[in-house]
Amino acid sequence: MRKLKFEYSMELKFSSPVNSHYFALRCVPGDSLRQKITLDVCRVAPADYTSMDRDGFGNLKISGCCGDYHDTFGYSVRGLAVTEGMIVQKCPLHPMYRYPSKYTQYEPEVRAFTKTAWKESGANSAETDLEKAVRVMDYLYHHFLYIPGVTDIRTTAADALRLGRGVCQDYAHIMTAVMRCAGIPARYVNGLMIGEGATHAWVEIYTDGGWYGLDPTNNLHVDDYYIKLAHGRDYGDCEVDRGIFRGNAVQRQKIYVNVEEISNDRDSCVNGTSRG
């Protein structure tokens, strides 16, 4: 068990004022067996109103609108997460996580990669689904290059495999597609992680009657240094931030993420390093 202090802020600057700005945000972590959340700050501004509800996947979602002209927009979430690592969160499986989705279609690249990864990694001879998944994750980690700026939010698992490189979102999509293609239910996860300056993405696989987190970008089991924001079949289901507005403006986005451990006995902080 760990206590993590987290802060996640986003600020948008528009080159000229915009209006009728609608937004849907999944920037607030929810409670689960893995994490107990105490929120200190949750601010969205400017906004005429906001409302919070769960979406069809069970994620917390803030919706709202800013009708008047404005040239900045942002949110800030701060709080404390008490986390548990590497546990299976028991819950019934929704069948949709068994099948390909928009970003995880079984295109030839996905099928081919699944086949080789399964053979080369020794997943074939592994006994449990978890063990298989861990071996495939290790294979993916060593056969896909972490290079930012090559892919974007529209890149699918097959696209990323064709390119051979990408970022956490691509690792997570490939892992999700490969797991499902091999018959292991999987879902895409957005969240925060210690030592990351941005949001991170990883996967959960369904094993032993529940969900278990794996981070293929770092070749790690999802332990108590991770705070989950949202999950879905793929990125498209659980975007952290979606907005539309009227106006002809260029937008610049600044994101600040900080996750620090609060030690139980002392006030010292642990701050790891990783890639996302």
Binding site: Y22, Y49, Y99
Partner: protein
């Protein structure tokens, strides 16, 4: 009757003046064309209609129970009646609708069920349309004009009046209204069924709105009227597809949707007619399972038959389909409006083997049906009576009770060899007479 036929031209002219049109997109351009009317009606006897009515009510009730189940407990999956992949791969299944309970638990308020009459005298269901079925206003306005042109025809034949169609969606909308005004939302002037949207708005006492007249505030939906006053909306009959309904939940590039309307809907603060997510129940692959649904949810035998259908997904069916492809109709489950319908007997041997390969590769994507030997209908071609293929779209309204409109849209193919009757493929239509019990 002869009088009606003699007036065909005049009737069509009047309809053109009323703006009874149908828009189609061809090669990226929008064309509005008249929907040609044929004066010889389809006549359904009182007894035949009673049977149809029972069967349609049973079917739509089962489909509504199925939708409640799929976005809720999923019992029909757990009990192994429908294989889960047919539901969860379907493009009509929207996980964003999981856990939503629509007002009065009605998903399909206005259902358009397409049937054909076989030579054996039996009705066969061709497909269910539970998203935004259009077409009811055409026979409604045709009847109005016909009655004016030839009142005697309707005096001599005991035809059930169908001009009150609009009362049915109106009552349905009132039943599910969460407290606010009723609105019919149209994607606008350049939509295939714009004529119908404006006509129905007028006849149901709803505000005809486009996306710019509607907005979400504090988890409620509002309509901004011409004096810039905002009025709360309690029920919205939207004539745009799910994908475009809410850019914050579905396609982000949609410019014709209402941002955050899905939140309002999830909170129970507005009824959406028909409910988002219905596409999972009128998927051509799910069609095969509707008789099973009727047995499962209602514990009844289906009154109306499906056309004999095979799912290549099942090995046994796949074998049959591949062996008999030249005698079957193949439908791509992802396509609508008569597109993606292939007749095996029209394919060259080369195309046939190409199709077979495709079916083997993507077996989930297709269904195959026997070609039903349907009764041809008489159609006037100039002064001559000719026989053409025709179907019937029956409209079923679900509100406090489920009811069938005693009429329907009979569409016919204008081409002698064609089986495809969809208006988007250039067919025409007829009035549909349901006879009342008392024959004069």
């Amino acid at each position: 009757m002869r009088e009606l036929i003699e007036h065909t031209e005049g009737i069509n002219r009047l309809m053109a003046r009323y703006g009874v049109k149908f828009g189609i997109y061809k090669n990226g351009e929008f064309h509005e064309q008249l929907f040609p009317f044929d004066a010889i009606p389809r006549v359904i006897t009182h007894e035949d209609f009673q049977q149809l009515e029972k069967g349609l009510i049973q079917r739509v009730d089962a489909l509504n129970l199925f939708l409640n189940d799929i976005y809720g407990e999923k019992k029909i999956i757990h009990d192994g009646v429908i294989p889960e992949e047919f539901v969860f791969i379907s493009s009509g299944y929207l996980p964003q609708c999981e856990g939503i309970i629509p007002p009065k638990k009605i998903y399909s308020h206005i259902s358009g069920i397409d049937l054909v009459l076989g030579k054996d005298g039996e009705w066969y269901i061709l497909e269910d349309n539970l998203r935004i079925p259009s077409g009811a206003s055409y026979p409604m306005i045709a009847r109005e004009i016909c009655r004016r042109v030839s009142p005697a025809t309707f005096g001599n034949n005991s035809v059930v009046d169908n001009r009150n169609y609009a009362d049915m969606p109106k009552e349905t909308m009132e039943w599910v209204n969460t407290g606010g005004i009723p609105v019919i939302m149209t994607p606008g002037r350049y939509n295939a069924a714009y004529f119908e949207h404006s006509y129905l708005a007028e006849r149901t006492g709803s505000a005809l709105a486009s996306c710019t007249d509607l907005f979400v505030e504090d988890n409620h939906l509002y309509y901004r009227d011409y004096r810039d006053r905002k009025q709360k909306v309690g029920v919205i009959y939207r004539r745009i597809s799910d994908d475009y309904l809410d850019p914050m939940t579905f396609l982000p590039e949609s410019l014709i949707g209402i941002p955050n309307i899905m939140d309002v809907y999830r909170s129970g603060n507005v009824a959406i007619v028909n409910a988002p997510g219905n596409g999972v129940a009128d998927d051509k692959g799910i069609y095969y399972f509707v008789p099973k649904m009727i047995r499962y949810y209602l514990d009844q035998e289906p009154i109306l038959k499906n056309a004999p259908t095979y799912l290549p997904f099942y090995e046994e069916d796949r074998k049959y389909v591949l062996d008999h492809l030249e005698n079957l109709v193949i439908k791509d489950v992802a396509e609508a409006g008569g597109y993606g319908v292939i007749f095996g007997n029209e394919l060259s041997s080369e195309k046939l083997s190409e199709m077979k390969r495709l079916i083997e590769k993507e077996s989930r994507r297709f269904i195959a049906q026997e070609v039903i030997d349907f009764q041809d209908m008489e159609v006037m071609d100039g002064d001559e009576k000719v026989l053409r293929k025709a179907d019937l779209r029956a409209f079923v309204l679900s509100g406090e009770t489920t009811r069938v409109w005693p009429s329907g849209l009979t569409r016919f193919s204008r081409n002698a060899d064609s089986f495809v009757v969809n208006s988007s493929q250039g067919g025409g239509f007829k009035d549909t007479w349901v006879l009342s019990q008392w024959k004069k």
